[in-house]
Subunit: 417 residues, 2 copies
Amino acid sequence: MGHCPRNGHTVPDPHLGRYAARTAGMTASEIRALFAVASRPEVVSLAGGMPNLAALPLETLAGQAAQLIAGEGLTALQYASAHGLPVLREQICEVMALEGITARPDDVVVTVGSQMGLDLVARLFCDPGDVVVAEGPSYVGALGSFASYQAQVVHVPMDGHGLVPEALRAALLQARAAGQRVKLLYTIPNFHNPAGVTLAVERRAEILEICRAFDVLVVEDNPYGLLGFDGQTYPALRSLDPENVVYLGSFSKTFASGLRVGWVLAPHAVRDKLVLATESATLCPPTLNQMIVSRYLATHDWQGQIKTFREEYRERRDAMLGALEAYLPPGCTWTEPEGGFYVWVTVPEGVDTKAMLPRAVAARVAYASGTGFYTDGAGSRRMRLSYCYPTPERICEGVRRLGAVMESELAHAFAGA
Amino acid sequence: MGHCPRNGHTVPDPHLGRYAARTAGMTASEIRALFAVASRPEVVSLAGGMPNLAALPLETLAGQAAQLIAGEGLTALQYASAHGLPVLREQICEVMALEGITARPDDVVVTVGSQMGLDLVARLFCDPGDVVVAEGPSYVGALGSFASYQAQVVHVPMDGHGLVPEALRAALLQARAAGQRVKLLYTIPNFHNPAGVTLAVERRAEILEICRAFDVLVVEDNPYGLLGFDGQTYPALRSLDPENVVYLGSFSKTFASGLRVGWVLAPHAVRDKLVLATESATLCPPTLNQMIVSRYLATHDWQGQIKTFREEYRERRDAMLGALEAYLPPGCTWTEPEGGFYVWVTVPEGVDTKAMLPRAVAARVAYASGTGFYTDGAGSRRMRLSYCYPTPERICEGVRRLGAVMESELAHAFAGA
């Protein structure tokens, strides 16, 4: 970390002694480091989480953006409040109502994507050494934010029905016995990234109860909740315990990721502090972007649009599951997501997904190695495959290539044994 | 801080025991707290720092935004890199060349306004208890970011030629003697916010030398550098010492604040860490906004546009200086800015600018009390007046009202003595 390549040479970093201690936790994620190679056109990337935007009504959006700038440009291009535009915060409450949430617009804070919400929540709650409990595996961007505030992540196992309540209780008891201060449960209840599973409805109240009993605040990250393939939704944790849940929402997966509009819904006192933290972080979220989202929600059949997205993702999910069945070697298993973007694959002994990755990219297929989704070194026999962005044909071809690479790994492992 | 008003009642914050220690430094700035009242139409606000956007070519910008979404929407509305769009980073290098900076686009990181750059620099360098040296007074948003990383700000005096080198040296010696670790000099060399002064060119090399000698990294914040009323520019500190300066730039004052596009130019090793920190903070800056700025720079006479802005601001500066001369009571003094947005006023003994503020707002004029620009309680006989946003007529009327309020304060102070 103390050296950087420049002009082909590696020179020492003259600022090395100056960095804050927290920078030790800031490391390039394996997934992001891969983006450059994986984005070459001949590589089928099953690695990224880019939504498929092709179905968006671009002409309509173009016209609306033009109207906003020409007609309301002095507002759209000007600073606004750190809290977020009132009209958008009202609309966000309507969006959340689809998952059973009753909220006041005043308790919503608009953020630059829900990543910013996550970062601000970590900023507000995590002292160095504090523990955050999270599913194992967990979202790589969350692990990065927690690391950058020097919090320690303790993973709790999932099964096919999501986070296991008994395992959560055991982890909290163990942390308590070890004298650790557990501040947060970070959880993605619906169509989990990367695991592709959904927290069973009957577990939700129990998990909230456990967190209350251990005085742990729940951070519910829900970017995929409206992307259930049959249009099914689940009661948000926030709807069951408004005072002990901070909820993170996003328009990145249901509308347009590049606008970077997300939000946090928080208990009122926490919301006050979030607004202050937002001012330090960016002064305010971009005004134009909030107005574009607001206009879209007000004028477009946004729920119909989400249905279109869901249908596309279901088709791709089906393509991927079919290809996995057809091409992966015996001994592989995988989750069968009912919504969202990801399948989580377990590979046979003899395959190390992190070590295999460069060979897979050489064979023109990329994935996200499981190790990036844990802070404790686990995951070398897991991988995340995304079906959100490539076409069904590309998905099939990518999985075919992946199967061949895996066969070759297994043959080598066998030969070497 | 532990209570929040709700439905007219004050209830204890149930999360009080959970916050990170750094939240103790997150307090509502006096200036921001004032925005709600100060934005009533009958109040002349000389408090805010909103740029005057009226001269922007809104129709052109509307057309360009529409083209970008209709023609390149699948890129404009999609995630992009945390580093920022390459084409925009190249253009940013051209902008910086106007102030003598030679830089590689690779060393530029695009941020969500330069506030985000500031916050990330504090994140990378400030451990709790570290010292940041800054002008006294200094930008309130910087003070907020440093506080939120638990750094301690030590103010160094300015005179009419900006930061005083001898005072900087003395402060650094004193900090060293006290065993303090000074990490950063945070400075706004050009058209200072709030002081309205510019660092003399002949002081620049000396200040850089002092910082090198004391192993202190320089953070140069330069949002106003191209807004000199005679078109004059000054050599950026970064141009004089590329390896020991982190430079913060912004399109908020020269183009459109509501797009939230700023940047950091940093030594290469620092840039690597900035990109990682950006990923944690927001994943990536908004793509559409970067493309709008890039298209504008590529197709519009942006330097001519800045000239138009400068001329408007000069007219307003003149209006304000004339009004100050005409309406403020004897004993007031003020700086005479040659660019930027702000005049810094010193009031006579007997006037407390923080205490007077509610009475000024009642008299339909708002300003920023000097106390918000210091961390050490100074500033009660100073105020910042902004001439950037109101028309010259409104500026005159505002200063007239302010003069009357001050006369009344002085009469009361006299009566009470």
